[in-house]
């Protein structure tokens, strides 16, 4: 559930980029930082890394002010992908309001994707989040590499899964904003009526997306 501080006039969404090790989660945030033109944009905070691998998490704050005056903030986190850091991954995942699952498109990574998604499902259960209602987007990253699963193969495999699929190449930035947009859509649809975004704060779905992504009207 997003954190609403009525006194401070702030609403904060916690969004988590999950997925197998070295799948491009941090790269997604780095590209978002450059590509998104949101009204408020913080620095990408990268905690300690080891050989280019995230040990704790990365944090990218984004935000805008709603017509009602409410400050809406998004705090985008990445989790450490390595299997060993499950405790940290679980702690980062807790209190999430939306999840991007960054899968690696390479054929050799299919097993890691599956295990990581299984781990996501287990950890959601452990931190008390409901897989049915949590907005989740599956991003197939690294479309620029050779020997990857074709889009048709991916669609075939994910046929029947309820989550939207986005193809991306985070290293070049393609599909990164689209992924974030689809997640924001899911977040708006999940929480809009509860938080009175449309009725009280003047944010219909289109306005919400426009403001969050910093796109011109």
């Amino acid at each position: 559930m997003p954190e609403l501080e009525r006194d401070a006039g702030r609403l904060t969404f916690k969004l988590v980029y999950y997925g197998p090790a070295q799948g491009g989660k941090t790269t997604n945030l780095m590209q978002l930082h450059d590509l998104v033109g949101a009204e408020m944009k913080g620095e990408l905070m990268t905690l300690e890394t080891q050989h280019d691998r995230t040990l704790f998490f990365d944090l990218l704050p984004l935000g805008f002010r709603a017509p009602s005056g409410l400050t809406i903030r998004f705090r985008l986190f990445t989790v450490p992908g390595q299997v060993a850091h499950d405790g940290t991954r679980k702690a980062v995942l807790s209190r999430a309001d939306g999840v991007v699952f960054v899968a690696d498109s390479q054929r050799t990574e299919a097993t890691n994707n599956g295990e990581s998604f299984q781990n996501l499902v287990e950890n959601l259960g452990r931190v008390g989040l409901d897989l049915e209602h949590l907005p989740i987007v599956v991003q197939f990253n690294k479309r620029d590499l050779p020997s990857i699963l074709s889009e048709d193969e991916v669609r075939e495999r994910y046929e029947g899964a309820p989550w939207p699929l986005v193809f991306a190449s985070a290293i070049s930035g393609s599909g990164v904003v689209q992924t974030f947009r689809v997640l924001l859509q899911g977040v708006w649809r999940q929480f809009a009526s509860e938080l009175e975004l449309d009725t009280v704060h003047g944010l219909d779905e289109a306005a919400f997306l426009r403001a969050a992504l910093g796109e011109a009207r």
């Binding site: 905070m45 998490f57 850091h85 405790g87 702690a91 980062v92 807790s94």
Partner: protein
């Protein structure tokens, strides 16, 4: 959610710097900027001792999106901004450190809780398996014991069966000739009377010379003796059949005294002359049992007693009934049972007799039979000397 101090909460100024450190920071910055410096919190209120100097301008300190604090000083704006960047850098480092350490703590706690759960589960399963292993050991022992017992019962049953077959065969074979011998003796008795009737036709002289009076008299006596002998053979055959119960192999309601009597008749023939057999049989209610097997058990105990008294002594068989049990006692006045023998007396193949003297199975078989009937058997030494075996059979 805000109530929980999650690693991902947004920090307030007080969490990142102590008031004393803020004072030190302001004091150090004052000569750098050339005017008094104050640190204000997110609401603009002074943090620490230094109040906002008059005419000061504010430089925001932003960690994420919104100002966490302000640096206030009446000085050049560019210089203040530069100083604010340095201070922000310090606060950001503090914030990162706090986030990582809180996250680490959260993860460690979660891992520890998980480990504890696993440990408990492990302990539970270990206990379960230990229990299983112990139960298994006991079960194996119990099975071995049962197999052992079944084997002895089988041995016993086969032995009984062969005795029974032998007895049946012998009884059959003997009964036939016994029948015509009995019948012939009766005929002979009748013929003797006819012979005696010839006396008046034989000259007295010839009669006397042939000593016919004595012959006839002795003849009658011979026949009578033979008849008695035949009757005895018939009775032995009957006892043998009764003892082996060959014609009634199943569970039945039996009067134990009848069986004990026929048993006595069987062993009476085996005992040495110097041994006295005594029986004191009290009235018994009928008992549901396998009479053939019980006979074998009592025979084994009696034979043990006979062997104990050797050539001279007394063996006493006693029976009585309580409300719940039939009690049979077999006493002898032999040397009694040695203390080191007593604990093993019912063990299979344990024997004090020399090779060929006994199989070491007699009393074992007796015990097994009694146990099969749900009863108990005990061996003791009598205070007046000799041994006593007591069998209790539940009604």
């Amino acid at each position: 959610m805000s109530g929980e101090a999650g690693f991902d909460r947004e920090f307030v100024l007080g969490e990142l710097i102590a008031a004393r450190d803020a004072d030190e920071l302001c004091a150090q910055l004052t000569p750098v900027l050339g005017a008094p410096v104050a640190l204000l919190d997110a609401t603009g209120a002074p943090f620490g001792a230094a109040a906002e100097p008059p005419g000061a301008i504010r430089a925001p300190l932003v960690l994420e999106l919104e100002p966490l604090a302000y640096l206030a000083c009446a000085c050049d704006a560019a210089a203040l901004k530069a100083a604010a960047r340095v201070v922000r850098w310090g606060l950001l480092s503090r914030a990162r450190f706090r986030m990582v350490s809180d996250l680490h703590l959260e993860a460690v706690r979660a891992d520890y809780a998980k480990l504890q759960q696993q440990n408990e589960a492990l302990r539970a399963s270990e206990a379960k398996y230990r229990e299983l292993a112990e139960a298994l050991d006991a079960k194996v022992k119990e099975q071995v014991r049962i197999i052992d017992e079944r084997q002895r019962q089988l041995y016993q049953a086969e032995r009984l069966a062969s005795i029974g077959q032998l007895a049946a065969g012998v009884a059959h074979e003997i009964n036939n000739p016994l029948g015509f011998v009995t019948s012939n003796l009766s005929s002979a008795e009748r013929y003797l009377a006819q012979l005696e009737a010839l006396r008046e036709y034989v000259p007295a002289e010839r009669w006397k010379t042939a000593d016919m009076d004595f012959v006839l008299e002795d003849f009658a006596e011979l026949i009578s003796d033979s008849q008695q002998g035949v009757a005895r053979i018939a009775r032995i055959v009957r006892d043998l059949k009764g003892f082996s119960s060959v014609d009634k192999p199943d569970v039945q309601l039996a009067n134990l005294n009848e069986h004990l009597e026929s048993l006595f008749a069987v062993i009476a023939g085996q005992k040495p002359a110097g041994v006295t057999l005594e029986s004191e049989l009290g009235p018994l209610p009928p008992l549901t049992c396998l009479p053939g097997h019980l006979n074998q058990a009592f025979l084994n105990i009696l034979q043990n007693a006979l062997q104990a008294v050797d050539q001279h002594g007394t063996v006493t068989l006693r029976s009585c009934a309580t409300d719940t049990h039939i009690i049979v006692q077999i006493d002898d006045d032999g040397p009694g049972i040695a203390a080191e023998v007593l604990p093993h007396i019912f063990d299979p193949f344990y024997t004090t007799r020399g090779v060929g003297g006994g199989t070491g199975l007699g009393l074992t078989v007796a015990r097994d039979v009694v146990l099969t009937h749900g009863g108990t058997i005990t061996a003791d030494n009598r205070p007046e000397g000799g041994a006593r075996f007591t069998v209790e059979l539940p009604l």
